[in-house]
Subunit: 347 residues, 2 copies
DNA sequence: AGATATAATAAACGCGTGTTTATTATACTA
DNA sequence: TAGTATAATAAACACGCGTTTATTATATCT
């Protein structure tokens, strides 16, 4: 069933049908009703492909999850609440606004080309990139893409670079982790903590860098001594975090508190400590990041920072929608506060 | 950049470019190389929309998650491991085979039309339906769709109906829950359990019905008495399950074991029991279904049935791929065993 | 070398729709 | 009522590609 059939049945020309569908003004109410009735009766839907080819948007956005090879060897990306929280929010909002959502995972270096491909071959109206890594910015060839893009977690330098070197409408959404970490470390200090360690994420994500940077700065600001052995390269990998914290715990020299780059590493750390007879939080306090569901369920439950997932996710879609419909970027940077959720892993 | 540009640069006609791209035989190696070089140099990709309009497949499959209104009031579908396990497997496999994945959630009754829409408007090559509810089969208008479809969890009657009334190539994948439940109840019986309760899922999903049916049959077969108060209508909702188990626990009359329609209800039941001072598994054993990640982390950890998620998920994509490429259905029903994972919530 | 078979390529059409331009029907003015 | 302005609709072209058919260049045979 195509528009020509509808036209024939309704006794009008194809272009009249098209004008009805696209809500043109110059078609009298009577004709419009007649055509609509036939469309309804035959359940006609315009072919999205012909439509797009003829210059219309295709109401499809791409959702790209970038995953560091370190954190994930078994392709179980969506077992990570960080990603699924955003997935929930974005799919919900996008579907609600009439967008199709094309989900892609980027696990290998080769996969980056899939992002380009989706834009060029699939002509998606816009894209959202989650879990941004530095190499992504270099590998995804934005110069070829003329579209709309929302990128999570990108530092100022890269953001500027992209905005200058890309034809796309570009928006970055960041969380203000730095502020949160600094406040929290001040609190820890006030409570008497003098040896605060950090279980780091990777250096090639803005989140990883920023969270560590904030930690470093605060160590200095508080006049604490930087202890290399208390800075653990967890690489966002719970497995690695467990091993290294376990190793440290065997040596019996531990800080009185650990900040972690994300919750899964924090949970691994708790496990490693408990397995070594260290009490949490009595001996060591642990603070995670991201507020994954598991942190609420374990014992002791995990103190962590919550991101406003739904707010950010739906905002991303709204921005994209604006870019797509209006064609112009109003604001290119949004920042959201994260919120400390106090639970049992800290006193 | 379109194929005409490539043709001009390479000094050939557009149809020659097309033949190179689509691997036609009647083009000499020299010409092919020349054209390929230009394509590579300019990073040309054919417009998928024009391609599809001209009759080609579009390498896109739809992934539809149907969620009962009862289980999920806050649209956090992807916090449920059952869904994300399949999501992981399917996205991984599909991307690996060169398919785009269109993710849709069906939470309201209205949403069913999105499934039709994706097939008709978006011309997706095939679809996978997860979390099938009875009404889905009636609401999704398969008679209008001529495509390829893999449906999870559908009873024989509905399967036959669909296969007879649909032009689509259709495949159903089921798990053999019945067998697993019966074996397990036999084991419980052998261990001395005489009062076995069930926390039911909804009646309008095959999984829900089948699991309950198996329970009923086994109660009879073992010569046990059917106790209505031990059959709890949990509706796949942890919240409801908690409330009802809590209520029952207050009355101090409990079975010695509970089967649950899924893990989240089982976990809720454990919480309700523990909150009432009932010991798990000493006083009451609990067995869940689906092997979600959380069940491994809680105390006591949850005995449950694991589904071969990755195997099933990738199988679904492979079947779809076969349907799409070959156009013919070889086998229309696949069944997979589920496996009991014994943990602490049973003795 | 001329005729014919065949390999290589180009031109033409169709896919279903949006949109621009051309045509026809209606209303209005003088 | 003839003439013009305007509202309503139809015809034509474009979108970028696959494919079928027509054309040209090359090779083979007698």
């Amino acid at each position: 069933m195509k528009s020509e059939d509808i036209a024939k049945i309704a006794g009008v020309s194809r272009s009249t049908v098209s004008r009805v569908i696209n809500n043109y003004s110059n078609v009298p109410e009577k004709t419009r009703e007649k055509v609509m009735r036939v469309i309804k009766e035959y359940n006609y839907m315009p072919n999205s492909y012909a439509r797009t080819l003829a210059g219309k948007k295709n109401n499809t956005i791409g959702l790209f999850f970038i995953i560091s090879g370190d954190t994930n060897t078994d392709c179980k990306i969506f077992q990570n609440d960080y990603y699924t929280n955003y997935l929930d929010a974005i799919v919900d909002q996008a579907n609600g606004m009439g967008y199709y959502v094309l989900v892609h995972t980027v696990t290998k270096n080769d996969d980056y080309d899939k992002v380009n491909q989706a834009f060029i071959e699939k002509r998606i109206d816009g894209g959202i990139i989650i879990g941004t890594q530095d190499e992504a910015v270099e590998t995804i060839d934005l110069s070829r893409i003329n579209s709309s893009l929302v990128i999570f977690d990108l530092d100022a330098e890269k953001r500027k670079y992209l905005q200058e070197h890309s034809k796309s409408r570009l928006c970055v959404i960041n969380t203000l982790d730095e502020k949160a970490i600094k406040t929290t470390m001040q609190n820890l200090y006030d409570q008497g903590h003098r040896q605060i360690g950090m279980i780091k994420g990777t250096d090639y994500t803005y989140s990883g860098r920023m969270r560590y940077q904030a930690y470093l700065e605060m160590i200095q600001l508080l006049g604490l001594e930087y202890e290399e052995k208390y800075v653990i390269e967890g690489m966002f990998s719970p497995k690695i975090a467990y091993q290294k914290v376990n190793q440290l715990a065997l040596g019996r020299t531990l800080p009185s508190a650990f900040l972690a780059g994300n919750d899964y590493m924090a949970i691994a750390a708790i496990n490693a400590l408990v397995d070594n007879g260290v009490r949490v939080p009595d001996d060591v306090s642990i603070i995670g990041f991201d507020n994954v569901g598991l942190g609420r369920q374990i014992t002791p439950s995990l103190t962590t920072f919550n991101q406003p997932y739904y707010e950010i996710g739906s905002k991303a879609v709204e921005i994209l929608d604006l870019y797509i419909r209006e064609g112009e970027a109003k604001q290119s940077l949004f920042e959201y506060d994260v919120q400390l959720i106090k639970r049992q892993s800290t006193q």
